[in-house]
């Protein structure tokens, strides 16, 4: 049993890596269609990564060893964080290793090195991106923790599998805390994965960019890893919203049938989320950087309201 479970966990982790570019490609495709363009094929992100791995990586004269190590650390930390979020099945041992606080910590570790890598070459763009990224995360990370804590407190556990189980077993879903936490987490997910209206993944316009500014100096396999890590992070947040807030359909045993169903359901959920994201990115405009704190404060406020409405209204009742 345990060997099989660990095998499944490994498979799920590999599935994350394999699916991440697909989600990015799907969102790009839907967005292109919404804008009356044909767009690149859905598999384009895979081609980009393949192409980048084949190209030579170059580094600035001023870059240090940290610059070279950062892509590997960023990718690894993001991947490990993703491996602990249930994607297809719940009964996996990875969830016991890392609860939701550890996941937030691993994402923060990745961000720490991403920001440092941005500052390493010593260009103004890199510093600017790092500074903005740390501002965004300084507000988004507590909001994310609060949103997940709301669910964790409801389930009396920070273990995501327990949270999902509790969610599946509960009857009254339309609790105020649940709605607040969901709204807060969605805003955080948009900010953290660098999407419109906080950041724009498709531009190199220096006045607006955050994420792209930090990885501006990367090339070749280093750039491929950084891009892949960003796609993984998007998928992680997608899975968090899809499986923790809407867990129905997730496989609860290791049978082939339920696993297949779980995979199909989660792909459908992620596809839906992707459409929603593409629509919102099409109708919304990118915000000025100094409007972003207001956006994130809203997320923090919503998440805190969720937590407070839980501890005040729902615990005693």
């Amino acid at each position: 049993m345990t060997v099989a479970a660990w095998g499944l966990a490994l498979l799920q982790a590999l599935l994350y890596v394999a699916l991440a570019p697909l989600l990015a490609g799907w969102i790009r495709k839907v967005k292109a269609r919404l804008q009356n363009r044909r767009g690149a094929v859905i598999l384009q992100p895979y081609r980009d990564i393949y192409k980048l791995f084949g190209k030579e990586a170059r580094m600035a004269h001023t870059a240090s060893l940290l610059f070279r190590a950062a892509p590997y650390i960023v990718f690894t930390a993001t991947w490990l964080a993703a491996a602990a979020v249930p994607l297809v099945a719940t009964g996996l041992p990875t969830a016991a290793i890392a609860d939701v606080i550890v996941i937030a910590g691993l994402l923060a570790l990745a961000r720490f090195f991403l920001a440092l890598a941005g500052m390493d070459v010593g260009t103004a763009f890199g510093g600017m991106g790092a500074s903005r990224e740390m501002l965004v995360s300084a507000l988004a990370e507590p909001a994310m923790l609060m949103a997940v804590f709301t669910l964790a407190m409801t389930a009396h556990s920070t273990n995501l599998v327990s949270v999902v189980d509790h969610q599946l077993a509960s009857v009254d879903l339309l609790r105020p805390s649940y709605l607040f936490a969901l709204a807060g987490l969605v805003l955080v997910a948009i900010a953290e994965s660098g999407r419109i209206p906080v950041d724009n993944p498709a531009t190199h316009l220096e006045l607006t960019m955050i994420h792209e500014a930090m990885i501006l100096e990367y090339s070749g396999r280093h750039l491929a890893l950084m891009d892949w890590a960003a796609q993984l992070k998007l998928l992680l947040y997608g899975a968090l919203v899809a499986n923790v807030f809407f867990p129905w359909g997730i496989a609860r045993d290791a049978g082939i049938g339920s696993l297949g169903l779980g995979l199909a359901v989660v792909i459908a959920k992620l596809a839906l989320l992707g459409v929603a994201l593409a629509v919102s990115e099409t109708v919304l405009a990118k915000m000025r950087v100094f409007r972003v704190p207001a956006f994130l404060n809203l997320a923090l406020l919503l998440a805190l309201l969720g937590l407070l409405s839980h501890v005040i209204l729902e615990v005693g009742a």
Binding site: S64, Y72, D99, A108, L109, T123, M134, P142
Partner: protein
């Protein structure tokens, strides 16, 4: 005098510290004595303290002895139990590393004008004072040792006394240390008057009414909080800690603040022995505010040592959040949760001592080799000082609370206890704890921003001044001191269950029960309540990180030596120069703007005499305007009123004396 066997290492530690102080006197004539004799003795004292602490934690016995000093009716008693053992260990490990680091650092002073005898002498006395505070088993010895610690550290702060700013900082420190000391003395007075004696054993038995207990609590919280640097009593800390030589800053921030935490735990948890939720709320609120304001002010500093001092305020705040939660849960009858929060606070105490030690030593190494404390003039130091850069990076990651290092474990434990708040009866308390958890999360994220800024500006990029460009590797001893603490940061992060198992004796002694569940599932798993509620496989996370990273490097980094160098792309602009880099001030600008209300910002454009214009930006602490200036004004006004008595006429003065004498006689009679 005979000491019980268990107290021998502790006695040896105090003795070695005093010997190191004594030997340093010869440094006045032979400067080398400090480096080759006094500092190794200091290091040995730290090692002995570490051994004493560990044996008390592992042995679990309580040993008591009476010293042949003190007054006939007030003997000096010492006692080594689990709580003092833990703090002995904290003092010992940092002192040991500082002793290894210091010889290289003080070498730079050998040709200066400052007195090396004073430096070594007061350093030894400082350590002896801290050790005796922790060992004292009565208010009398405690206060004597406390004053020894405060006074000797005053002389260390004022060591570079040729700068007026340092003298001012030291005076402020002396003043506030004594106001705090007075409050502690009064707190002991309350306990002693109910218990009928100054020995801690007698105080433990005192039956205080809740009202008087609260008075004692407030006095202890004020006094120890002042020493620990809780907002708004922190004003001395960012002035005094940077003024001292860097290895002393490491001791002050890493260890002395912990002695204040020890005093608070000893008085509130051990001696008072009763818990009220109001106390918990007060400690939690002050702790959260300290944590948040500490990190925000740290973000605004560009003097590296000052920044680290503000970050100590933040971390002390996190420790007090844990202690406040512990009080709150104990008062509400949730003992298990109280123990979790208490262990989290202890673990963070140890962690902060380690990583703040690394960071201050790193700042000292930069000061030693480049003579620079200002972040705006640093840059590119990772290439100049790779080892210091590596250890400093470990310190930065650990203090930002990121896995797999130690700071993460204590924050994780604090969150875990806060998340069990649903077990409390009162909705108000539940929401207070929830808000405190939110503030802790915000603090953690801001701390990461703060240390990305420090590391990115100081160690990455290009050098911004000539001295930094020419910085050289520091001597091996200095590197070893930093490396030792950095390694411990990693170990405590990877094997938390083992260390918490050792530290478990403290809550067992103080709160009456340990954290049996935490270690019940083997060294791989940290499960504070039960595996269903929460578990963290720290070694597994670390191994997974390591294996995946190695695999990735091996698979993809085969051509690692073949990476070609070129000019930075930078969107096609000209190759960037050092002056084009983002500065520390620029990095913090968005955060300064978002949290502008919390700072006192003085910003504008100045016309220079030569016609040039200059941008002026001064971010200062609001606490001065709100808390300190009114007090200063009141004192000055009172002094002005008193001068009315000064008529210059001797007969009137004699009349005042007579009146005072009569009044006193009347009161006594």
């Amino acid at each position: 005098m005979t000491l019980p066997d268990a107290l021998l290492p502790a006695g040896l530690a105090v003795g070695l510290a005093l010997l190191s102080a004594l030997v340093s006197l010869f440094a006045a004539r032979y400067p080398r004595v400090l480096r080759v004799l006094a500092m190794p003795l200091f290091s040995l004292a730290g090692l002995a303290a570490l051994v004493a602490g560990l044996s008390a934690l592992l042995g679990g016995s309580v040993s008591i002895a009476e010293l042949p000093f003190g007054l006939p009716w007030l003997p000096w008693q010492v006692r080594l139990d689990a709580l003092s053992g833990f703090f002995l260990g904290v003092i010992g490990v940092v002192s040991f590393a500082v002793g290894v680091y210091a010889p290289g650092y003080v070498r730079g002073f050998e040709h200066g004008r400052d007195s090396l005898a004073a430096l070594g002498g007061f350093t030894g006395l400082f350590l002896a004072g801290m050790l005796l505070v922790v060992l004292a088993d009565g208010a009398f010895l405690f206060m004597v040792a406390w004053e020894l610690m405060s006074l000797s550290s005053y002389f260390l702060v004022v060591f570079h006394h040729d700068q007026a700013a340092n003298r001012r900082a030291a005076f402020l420190y002396l003043l506030m240390a004594h106001i705090g000391g007075l409050a502690i003395l009064l707190g002991f007075g309350v306990l002693a008057s109910f218990g009928g004696g100054f020995a801690f054993d007698v105080m433990r038995g005192a039956a205080l009414s809740p009202g008087w207990a609260s008075v004692a609590f407030v006095l202890a919280f004020f006094g120890f909080g002042m020493k620990a640097g809780l907002v708004p009593l922190h004003a001395w800390l960012p002035e005094a800690h940077p003024a001292a030589p860097s290895h002393i800053s490491a001791l002050m921030s890493g260890v002395m603040l912990k002695v204040a935490v020890y005093g608070f735990i000893r008085v509130v948890f051990d001696l008072l022995g009763q818990y009220h939720w109001q106390w918990g709320v007060a400690v939690l609120a002050i702790g959260s505010i300290s944590a948040l304001l500490g990190v925000l002010y740290a973000l605004m500093q560009h003097d590296l040592k000052r920044l680290l001092a503000y970050s100590s305020v933040e971390n002390i705040g996190i420790i007090f959040i844990g202690l406040g939660l512990a009080l709150l849960f104990m008062a509400s009858g949730q003992e298990v949760l109280g123990v979790v929060a208490f262990v989290a606070a202890l673990y963070h105490t140890l962690n902060h001592a380690l990583f703040k030690g690394v960071l201050f030593m790193g700042a000292g190494a930069i000061l030693h080799s480049a003579g620079e404390r200002d972040l705006e003039k640093m840059g590119g130091l990772l290439r100049r000082m790779p080892w210091t850069g590596l250890f400093f990076l470990v310190g930065c990651i650990a203090i930002s609370g990121l896995p797999p290092f130690n700071g993460f474990v204590s924050e994780w434990l604090t969150f875990q206890s806060a998340l069990q708040v649903w077990q409390l009866e009162s909705g108000v308390l539940r929401s207070i704890v929830a808000i405190a958890a939110a503030m802790l999360a915000l603090t953690g994220a801001l701390a990461a921003a703060c240390f990305v800024r420090v590391y990115g500006v100081a160690f990455l990029g290009q050098a911004r001044s000539r001295a930094v460009r020419r910085a050289r590797q520091v001597p091996p001893g200095m590197r070893a001191g930093q490396g030792l603490l950095a390694l411990l940061c990693l170990l405590l992060g990877v094997l938390p269950t083992t260390f918490i198992g050792v530290l478990n004796a403290v809550p067992q002694q103080v709160l009456g029960q340990g954290l049996a569940q935490a270690t019940a599932h083997g060294w791989l798993w940290l499960t504070p309540m039960s595996p269903r509620i929460a578990s963290y496989g720290a070694p597994l996370v670390a191994v997974a990180l390591f294996v995946t990273l190695t695999l990735g490097l091996w698979l993809l980094g085969r051509g690692i030596r073949r990476v070609r160098r070129c000019d930075a792309w930078d969107c096609g602009f000209a190759p960037p120069g050092p002056g084009m880099q983002y500065t520390a001030t620029a990095f913090a600008q968005p955060i300064r703007r978002v949290y502008g209300l919390l700072f006192h910002i003085d910003e504008g454009v100045e016309q220079q005499p030569d016609g040039r214009r200059r941008h002026r930006l001064q971010v200062s602490d609001r606490a001065w305007g709100i808390f300190y200036l009114p007090v200063m004004r009141a004192v000055e006004n009172a002094a002005r009123q008193v001068t009315r008595l000064q008529s210059g006429n001797v007969r009137i003065y004699l009349g005042w004396s007579l009146a005072t004498l009569l009044l006193l006689l009347w009161i006594i009679a």
